[in-house]
Amino acid sequence: MSSQTQPPIEKKTIRLEINHRAVTCPEGATILRAAELNGIYIPSLCSHKDLSPFGGCRLCMVEVEGMRGYPLACSTPAAEGQKVLTETAALRDMRREIMELILSEHPSSCLLCSEKEECSGVLQTIRKSGVTTGCRYCPNDGQCELQALVEKLGITDIHYPIYYRGYEAEHDDPFFDRDYNICILCGRCVRMCQEVRGTAVLAFTSRGPKTQIGPAFGRSHIEAGCEFCGACLDVCPTGALADKTSKWDGPPDGSAVSTCPFCALGCQVELFHKDGRLSKARAHLDPEINDGQLCVRGRFCMPETTHHHQRARKPMIKHGAYFREVSWPEALDAVAARLKNVRPGEFLMAVSPDLTNEGLYAARKFVTESLGSPGLDSTARWALPGGADVWSRLLSLPISIKGLASAEAVLAVGLDSRFSFSVAGVEIRRALKEGAKLVTIDSRESNLARYTDHWLRPRPGGEGETLLALAEKMAGAPPESKGTREESASGLTTRDLDEAARVLGSGKSLAVLVGPAVFGRDKGGAAARALLMLAGRENTIFLPLYQGANTRGALELGILDQSAGGMRLEDVLEGRAKPKVIYLVGETPFLERPDCDYLIAQDIYLPPFEVDAFLPAASFAEAGGTLTNVEGRVQEIVQIECLPDGAIAGFVRPDWFIFSQLSSRVSQRGFVYESWRDVLRDISGHVQGFPAVPDRRPRRMTWKTDFRDVKASPESASGGDLVLLLEPGGFRHRGIDLSFVVEGLTELKLEEGFRLHPSDLAALGLEPGETLTLSWNGTEASAPVRADADLPPGAAAAWRPSAYGGLLHRRSLLPLFRQPDDVLSVRVASRKGKKSRKT
């Protein structure tokens, strides 16, 4: 214990001499790092501070007294009393020679053009239209490490014959283009993919002059299991890898650190802007959450989400048969006039769990105080199956993302971290690299299956039951019901569970991750009970995951408490309630207009049905605010775009601002906020434990109500032809599915209809893309099929979205989305082969 209270032992420092200057560095550093720490520049292309030494480019060679030859600074450890020279005539000559050799295989028009000096001066023209003058060979022009180094070394000519590799540029995969003619084979991307991400999609293939970077057997990145995290792009010193959306933007104007608005992990991102608009996002080196890593959404989806041409940017009001653009005062007056006359019991507002804390709080204040109505609901409730009291208990557990990497054992339940919660996957693999053990519970072969030490594969939908059985075993508690419950319920034997418990060990620090699908499938609440049971274990951290970026914020701000007296979304969906006025804030829980007199939508895109009033909300890039992540950190979203109202920026307003404007129009009890910071201060005054300013410290939630045990009713889905698994998801952001605006996500085809095991597809005689109709309880739904070898045979899977914006093409699946269960036994009603397929 005493060692914990003492400050950590400082690493020994060593003294050496670089360029006749006495310097110090921590023990274990390389000469390159020692030089960097002391502000001495040594040229290098292949080394990177996050990656292991490679010694590929040879540019960092130095002279060390007493050492033979020219050792590489990036792979030679600094030693006490070493005398290093980094700039001598011999070194300079050799570096130039090496650089020329590198350039002999690298297109060099951007480096060595004879017109280069004059070129930048004539790039601007006074023509009316925007034209490109000068050469644009490479997307990296002006922000290229290689280019900078050539300039630094003063190379103006290449004495070697130029060799052009003649590869075809690869544009087939989504999100980024690859041109391996420009690649200098520094291997940074390969090391990033293997060492840091742990995915190892990229590798050096072949050797000698034929060496190339890519996946096995010339597969596409999609096939090879790429997560499209973009980490390889961020370390590439050349333009070989380029972001499709911002490829030709040139160097950005500036950047700011913000929070990713797409999921509950709340990764820190660096947002770049160009000409006042968001141009791209990169991971921020934040040691608390993502440590320089992101997922496909955070890295690639932001600019398109806020800049898509279908973005709705002006207030619109329906006048008779016309739906036309109006000014803000006119829109607000029209909406307020309707809201003033509505009876509190006939109003329902649905707020999205992707709104900022400020937006959610202002919405609640508007509904309860200004309108005096109990009608407030949110799809956040769908994202938290089991209810608010269960989740406030779960969120009071020690939750940590950072702690994953240092766990000695990891238990991952129903989690596939390829495209969602990728950062958690990276942290798990980091732990595995340090020798941790991994047990996975998943009926499908997740992307973690390759790393797992023990894979418990229950019947589809049995993840929660299995977790409970395992938790009982680990806690030493007697099984709730005697006999072979776990065998019948989950299809696993006691021996499997014993083995899993043995792998996880008893005294080790444990991290338990539970994917969002598990809670939804688990009607009996077994998963939640299992987590609470494991909470008694020492050294255990948790990560229960859910959909929606700010679902926890919605829970804490009391959005979910309101529905006690008021209507719920389900009531409207099932026709049990008919509100006169519905106000959708960033929500599109319908595909067709619900039955009501007046429908208001406030979002960043128009919903897929007719509305009576549309109020354009500001996106994450256009308004500041805070989001509460799964750990309870209240993190700031930075306003990166501050363009004036007009043709480009439109007339968008932050959600909280719209509510505050409406509030003074509908009642005496209006509220006025000047900025989102005012709202946050207001929140901290009313919600216990909420900070008054953005605060990145994790907070454990306090729970008031006792956890009411939901009676287990393990319904076995059997008797049908297939077991259909509905997975919560899609890529929801506010009212839309991101695949609607982000082209690359469409290419990943994640939400495409039904997925079946290839053997089931073959048995049904279906080809991928053909239509399958499934029926249950007298209802049916049809969609195209796709092969998914990760699923167990006998199962079919489909996404169940909670926001329908842009999913009109999935109309035929609507009956399926509507029914309450996540695991269904279904029959094959009909299948359409090639002949009847539309061309």
Binding site: Q194, T199, A200, V201, L202, A203, F204, T205, S206, R207, G214, P215, A216, F217, A224, G225, R450, Y451
Partner: protein, 155 residues
């Protein structure tokens, strides 16, 4: 390589990443090449990604990724064979089998290879078919051999 064979192979190794190259050699020894399926199996077993395994395997000339042909024809192009017309023999074979050296015919029957020296320069030009050496060959002799469907005596 079927499941049992692969499970049998596993028993000879401790299952560490360092076993990769000997494992690949064993697999190639058993089935003649490294198929995507076998690489996938090794990936799951040794916990190395398929892409990394492919990267390692393509570094070495000894590994093949295509099913070998039933008959392997190696044409020597060492100095002596080159001088005595090895190139013409290779040309004829290329045209007749309609493949490039290193490839296998579509029916899987023939695989054509060019080699640097077979160590019997006195017999130049030399062609080796399924390990049997044919010395002092000519375009005609090779054609005759192929016409006969390679009913040569197995050594």
């Amino acid at each position: 390589m079927n499941f049992e064979e692969f499970e049998e192979l596993k028993t000879h190794f401790s299952g560490e990443a360092a076993d990769l190259i000997p494992v690949l050699q064993k697999i190639q020894g058993a089935q003649g090449y490294l198929s995507p399926e076998s690489i996938r199996r090794v990936s799951r077993w040794l916990r190395i990604s398929e892409n990394e395994i492919y990267g390692v395997a393509t570094f070495f000339a000894q590994f093949r990724f295509q099913k070998p042909g039933r008959h392997v024809i190696k044409v020597c192009l060492g100095t002596a064979c080159h001088v005595r017309g090895g190139e013409q023999i290779l040309d004829v074979l290329k045209r007749r089998l309609n493949i490039e050296p290193g490839a296998v015919t579509a029916d899987g029957l023939y695989q054509l290879e060019r080699v640097a020296c077979l160590g019997c320069c006195a017999l130049a030009p030399v062609v080796s078919i399924d390990g049997k050496i044919y010395g002092q060959t000519s375009v005609l002799k090779i054609q005759e051999l192929l016409d006969g469907g390679l009913h040569h005596d197995q050594p």
